[in-house]
């Protein structure tokens, strides 16, 4: 019996050792391994799925035309269910898979958690859509394709003040209310900059109301206060789920101001069972317009529609651009996948500050070494259930 036990444990040791050895096999792969992380299920799944689909189109296009310097890209997107802890787990399993570069994560909260780990590993990280400043703050390896939240807040105030928005009656909006989620880093980040920037604009902020993650089912009070203040426009720097509920409740109380949001509102038309006619006239600030008439956008939209049967949102476009940005900086720096994670990180973060990129989500985009992108925002309005550029 004792002998058997010894033999058994020896066999187990051998099996485990084999396991360890075989996991090193990834280095032998002849491809650039790009990982992605985002919510593929759960409340923000629209974002993650769009990012995965958009990125996959870019990866397939690049591979079909010979890859990067003849090397193909392999793309692997993991689900984080909008949970920071799961996001870090996803990062670890992608590292086990052999990831060279991280294209993610999709949302700000998770991205902050993962960025702490990529910074420690000095892995190059390019997020398509995590817009919080805290994502790039103190992390010189993290770069954004999307605007930072402060820029969205300033951009929104600028747009309402300078370009002007017209209320239902045809008059220029001069009284603005804000409803934001004080428990969310994305929402409160935009809100703070919006309020500061609004001080210098020719409109008044007449009501500021908040809600938290635990009380996001009843907005009747917030809407009532906005209506009492006679707000013609309600600024919603929040995600689409709550926005869909706000639109429903506003309609139930006969309150029809202009609703104005940022990129978090993108996806509102996809909420299951939501009456999309309520979203008629909603304006959102976003860098991508699916009906733009340039050839690249049209080709991308057509391909996305062919594969997934729907119009891509800006998250898909951001991810598509992110993959091309990664290709461009690899070409620019001459980096290879055989370099160590840290060397590759150093090469790419230098390269991204040296290039100028024109893609679906902006022309002549450039990056500061802090990780922020420079580009010009565009506004869209929802008409007849589709996004139309303003």
């Amino acid at each position: 019996m004792k002998k058997f036990r010894k033999l058994f444990s020896l066999t187990m040791v051998a099996v485990m050792a084999m396991g360890v050895l075989s996991s090193c096999g990834n280095d032998a792969r002849d491809t650039f391994m790009i990982g992605g992380i985002g919510p593929l299920t759960g409340g923000a799944a629209v974002y993650g799925i769009s990012v995965r689909n958009g990125a996959q189109i870019a990866v397939d296009e690049i591979n079909a035309t010979g890859g990067i310097n003849g090397k193909e890209i392999e793309f692997n997107m993991q689900d984080d269910e909008l949970d920071a802890e799961r996001s870090v787990n996803a990062y670890n399993s992608l590292k086990d898979w052999g990831m060279n570069i991280l294209m993610g994560t999709v949302t700000s909260g998770c991205c902050v958690a993962v960025a702490a780990h990529t910074a420690a590993d000095n892995m190059f990280q390019l997020t398509p859509s995590a817009s919080s400043v805290s994502v790039i703050e103190g992390n010189d390896n993290v770069f954004q394709v999307c605007f930072t939240d402060p820029n969205q807040g300033i951009g929104a105030a600028d747009y309402i003040g300078q370009v002007g928005v017209y209320a239902d009656g045809g008059e220029l909006v001069s009284r603005v209310a804000v409803i934001y989620d004080s428990s969310d880093v994305y929402s409160s980040g935009i809100y703070e900059k919006f309020i500061t920037a609004a001080a210098g604009q020719p409109f008044d902020v007449v009501a500021v109301e908040a809600f938290t993650g635990d009380s996001k089912s009843d907005f009747s009070v917030q809407l009532q206060i906005a209506r009492n203040a006679d707000a013609q426009l309600v600024f919603l720097p929040i995600y689409y789920n709550e926005a869909a509920l706000i639109l429903t409740q506003a309609a139930a109380m006969d309150y029809f101001p202009v609703f104005f949001g940022c990129d978090g509102l993108d996806g509102i038309l996809g909420v299951e069972n939501f009456d999309t006619s309520l979203a008629e006239g909603v304006i959102l600030l976003t860098p991508f317009v699916a009906d733009a008439d340039d050839a690249r956008t049209q080709a991308f939209v057509a391909e996305y529609q062919r594969r997934h049967g729907e119009i891509p949102n800006q998250f898909a476009a951001n991810a598509y651009d992110a993959i091309y940005i990664i290709r461009d900086i690899i070409l620019h720096s001459g980096a290879t996948y055989t370099m160590s994670i840290s060397d590759l990180g150093n090469a790419l973060k230098k390269a991204i500050t040296e290039i100028s990129f024109t893609g679906l989500t902006g022309d002549n985009m450039t990056w500061r070494s802090t990780g922020e992108v420079n580009k010009i925002p565009k506004a869209m309005i929802i008409r007849g259930g589709v996004y139309i550029g303003l």
Binding site: F211, Q222, A252, N273
Partner: protein, 294 residues
């Protein structure tokens, strides 16, 4: 005018809390346990109607009946499988922890079946809102139905308990389980009946909740469940009129607090109420003071 609007909103929210709180209070009064899975039975009830109306195209009223049936079966099954074996032998804490386990089980089951994304819920109330004073005050049809449902349920439940044999049996079991058994009352049967009524009410509460605040997700029942528990404690846990008063007051406090103090602090105010009540009057507004017998 504003104050009246807020008050109406508060009563609407409070009526829902009251119906949910009834489930807590009845189960506590009779089985002497806190059924923390109650909030998730609400979610199951709402999802059943969502499935019936939005996915299968059934008649809303038929879906409601289906939902009540499913919740009753669910409540009785939970009691039979998870709580009954632990009754008597184990400490009270074990049952409480089991209830939390059941709560997670139901949430994750809903996650598996329906996915985590929030869905818009189509209200099952067939008529439109009532407008008063040139539309200055709008009372939604859901508010009216909820308030009416709350009053009807409260009255019929009180009548049931005081006028019928099974109701009297409930009172007896609540008073003293062992003595009731000696008198020939089927204690297990009475407790099962309590769970059945509580779960049926949970289905109604769930549908009203999701009609008034038209979104649904697997976590829909969690927060209202906790708030209704506070309402039950506030009114005096174990007392049926207490659940009504506690629920209505809590709803009004939450909405008025949000309107006149701070939209961010509404939950803080609600939980403050719980702490103050526990400090000042631990048995709640209408709770009975029980003397420990030697």
């Amino acid at each position: 005018m504003n104050f009246i609007s807020f008050l109406i909103n508060g009563l609407s929210l409070g009526s829902i809390y009251a119906i949910i709180a009834l489930g807590y209070t009845m189960v506590y009064g009779i089985a002497k346990m806190l059924n923390f899975a109650h909030g998730d039975v609400i979610m199951v009830g709402a999802f059943t109607v969502f499935w019936g109306v939005s996915m299968q195209g059934f008649d809303p009223f038929l879906s409601l009946l289906l939902s009540i049936t499913i919740c009753i079966i669910l409540g009785v099954t939970i009691e039979f499988i998870a709580y009954r074996p632990l009754r008597g032998a184990a400490s009270k804490l074990v049952v409480l922890i089991t209830a939390i386990g059941v709560s997670y089980f139901l949430q994750n089951l809903a996650l598996l079946i329906f996915g985590a994304s929030t869905k818009s819920f189509t209200s099952i109330v067939p008529f439109g809102p009532v407008r008063l004073f040139d539309g200055q005050i709008i009372i939604s049809s859901e508010t009216l139905v909820t308030f009416a449902a709350c009053l009807i349920i409260m009255t019929s439940l009180t009548l049931f308990i005081h006028k019928t044999k099974p109701g009297q049996a409930m009172l007896a079991v609540a008073e003293d389980k062992d003595a009731a058994q000696l008198m020939g009352i089927n204690v297990n049967g009475t407790i099962t009946l309590t769970f059945a009524i509580g779960s049926g009410l949970a289905a109604i509460a769930g549908v009203l909740l999701c009609s008034a605040y038209p979104v649904i997700s697997p976590y829909t029942g969690a927060m209202p469940g906790i708030k209704a528990f506070i309402a039950a404690v506030f009114g005096g846990i174990g007392s049926i009129p207490g659940a009504l008063i506690g629920g209505l007051l809590l709803g009004v406090i939450e909405i008025l607090g949000r309107a006149y103090i701070s939209t961010q602090l509404s939950d803080v105010i609600v939980f403050m109420v719980l702490i103050i009540v526990l400090l000042v009057k631990p048995t709640g507004l209408l709770g009975r003071k029980l003397q420990e017998k030697v």
